[in-house]
Symmetry: C2
């Protein structure tokens, strides 16, 4: 089942080629799994071995190059024709003697692309220092250029069908958050609550099954709410503690993340309730600042004005562009809502705005995923914005 019309992939490839021309790149080696998916439809958990999609200005169709056993996966998920799917032998896998990028270089040579200006994604997760060294050694006649985020910047404005998948992910994350708010309770093992969350993420809705989010459920409790990325234990949740919930729904690799905080007990500390009120007020102010033509840094400023009146500060950014992605991150690494980011908002850009205050031994989180509309914003999920208290 194709998730997008072939015409949509061709449009993406054409936009990519425009950017390649503007940057003087003739052949682009795409390693980022989200970018590979975006340009061809390829979807599989095979990014633990090197694999690429190659876009050349002189070729109509990109070429998928991956491990031999995954070529059938490319046949199942992409619109590519047989001559554009190339598998490498298994002896290249995890071998000290040879690297899959040696093979990729051979394919480039075979198509006359080894003397061109070749772009690579220097900071993509799965493009290692050794992968780059192997390419450089095997392509001595190429001019190698940094094309980091080139395709990611094409991705920043979503097509209507992409927005639809994110809305579906938003419906999923509503269920996921409600599952979490139900499951987290004093005496329940953290792993058992997380298990219910996972189950709901993957079941999705009756109409739309769930996909695996690019980040696991984050549900730190008590003192561990002071830091955002610790995963669960098998200890039971205590009482008179806060639990941060940073969760996502995912549909066909498109994400809608959502964060809330729940307090287990009847006596939430005043610093927590007061912070929650200010953070929610700041969230509203920042969302209200969203509309086409506004710069990312202006959205952050609307937030900062609110919290600074209350004497609070937040060093870290308050949001980032996101959508289609694979582990380890649903963020796109392009625009961030933070001082100095002058990216101008356009309709159908999509962000996760996350107001997380991680203090010395406690924390509070509240977030929304949204798209920029013609006149403002549309959030993808509908869950009350507040500190939940379960007593």
């Amino acid at each position: 089942m194709a998730l997008f019309e072939t015409g949509e992939y061709l449009r993406r490839i054409a936009s990519t080629k425009q950017r390649m021309e503007a940057q003087g790149i003739e052949v682009l080696i795409v390693s980022d799994p989200a970018n590979m998916n975006y340009l061809t439809g390829y979807d599989g958990w095979s990014f633990y071995v090197p694999q690429v999609v190659v876009v050349s200005l002189d070729a109509g169709e990109p070429v998928w190059i991956g491990r031999g056993m995954d070529a059938n996966g490319a046949r199942h998920t992409t619109f590519l024709s047989e001559e554009s799917i190339v598998g490498y032998p298994d002896r290249y896998v995890h071998s000290p003697a040879q690297h899959p990028m040696d093979f990729v270089a051979d394919v480039l040579r075979g198509r006359g692309w080894d003397t061109k200006a070749v772009g690579v994604e220097m900071d993509a997760y799965y493009f290692s220092a050794r992968a780059f060294a192997a390419l450089r050694k095997n392509l001595p006649k190429a001019t190698i250029k940094d094309a980091n985020l080139l395709v990611s910047w094409v991705r920043i404005v979503k097509a209507p069908q992409e927005i639809e998948y994110m809305r579906q992910a938003g419906k999923i994350v509503e269920r996921v958050m409600n599952t979490a708010l139900d499951a987290v309770a004093p005496g329940v093992r953290e792993c058992d609550a997380v298990a219910e969350v996972y189950r709901t993420q993957i079941r999705g809705t009756e109409a739309c099954g769930g996909d695996y989010p690019a980040i696991v459920p984050m549900m730190p409790a008590g003192e561990k709410t002071s830091t955002p990325h610790l995963t669960w234990t098998d200890e039971p949740y205590g009482t008179e503690i806060a639990v941060n919930l940073e969760l996502a729904g995912c549909r066909h690799r498109y994400h809608s993340p959502l964060a809330r905080t729940v307090y287990l007990g009847s006596r939430p500390p005043r610093k927590l309730t007061e912070t929650a009120e200010i953070v929610v007020e700041g969230l509203h102010a920042a969302l209200d600042a969203v509309r086409p033509g506004v710069r990312c840094e202006e959205v952050e400023l609307a937030w900062r004005r609110v919290i600074s009146r209350a004497g609070l500060e937040k060093e870290s950014r308050i949001g980032y562009s996101m959508g289609l992605n694979y582990p380890p991150d649903w963020g796109e690494h392009t625009a961030s809502l933070r001082p100095g980011d002058t990216t101008v908002l356009e309709p159908n850009m999509t962000f996760h705005m996350i107001l997380g205050m991680w203090m010395e031994d406690w924390g509070f989180e509240c977030s929304e995923s949204f798209r920029v509309t013609e006149t403002g914003h549309e959030t993808f999920a509908d869950v009350p914005r507040k500190l939940f208290v379960k007593s």
Copy 2:
């Protein structure tokens, strides 16, 4: 809660330093999240931003360097003292202007390590080409060496407590596999069956909660069994089709993967039942070949002798070292069970032996996770080795 005695971490660091000395490396920059965990205990889903552990021959304790908001995570999970936990400001995150490795280089300079022989893990997933370029630029006086897999080779022989966690993961994967065999049925949406599997993975057992495996459940059905790494859809399972199940239990980041195939229907094709019989016979032969002193390639040969008598061939390797890990892979990328791998088996090495036959439009999988014992092998899970048929 410390998962290992501090003495165990110190033993690992000492072994690492021995290998560093042997390779002429004075300062080792460890980027692989599993290696970071192995040396310090650090555990968090923060590897989507650059972070490292630095081991120097002239320092007793490694230094953790990561994103500021994750420093509390290091305080919670590692044995390191406060001066060995260094957070970088958020402006380094996903910024075109500066890279976290610029900061890492500053820390090295501050400790007088910038003129040393510095090892880096050239092919680690989260050590990008740009990360390497930033280090090289900022450490002009250092001699930079490839230390890829240096720590991974220390990890290959497990400590008794590590084996215990893998046994616990084996108990979890027994439940997981039985859940999958129950849940997969004609008319059930793939996502709903996978949801039950996920739930069981994370619940674990009464005594031991589950952790997230480094690879999502793989449960391809029908024609998609011809390729191993496609994830699920929300289509219902059909009848008279095979479903491959490649699943894992995970405990404190230690894995026990397990693969089986189930046929939904009453008329499994003869090519499938015959292949299943031969593959299981080959699995037994290969497991029987496991004992200390045997080379990895000899284990593979025992398998190949069985299947070649039946006229079958398998190009890809039949197994690999595994244990502690993070997405995207539970494999350690050191020893593989394949021709040419002369690694000599030692007690408490641990492998996933996976006999997967992926044909043009069908496939069959059967696997075991095991440790090498003093006299042979111990498998971690107990599930019948056969083609399951649900009619």
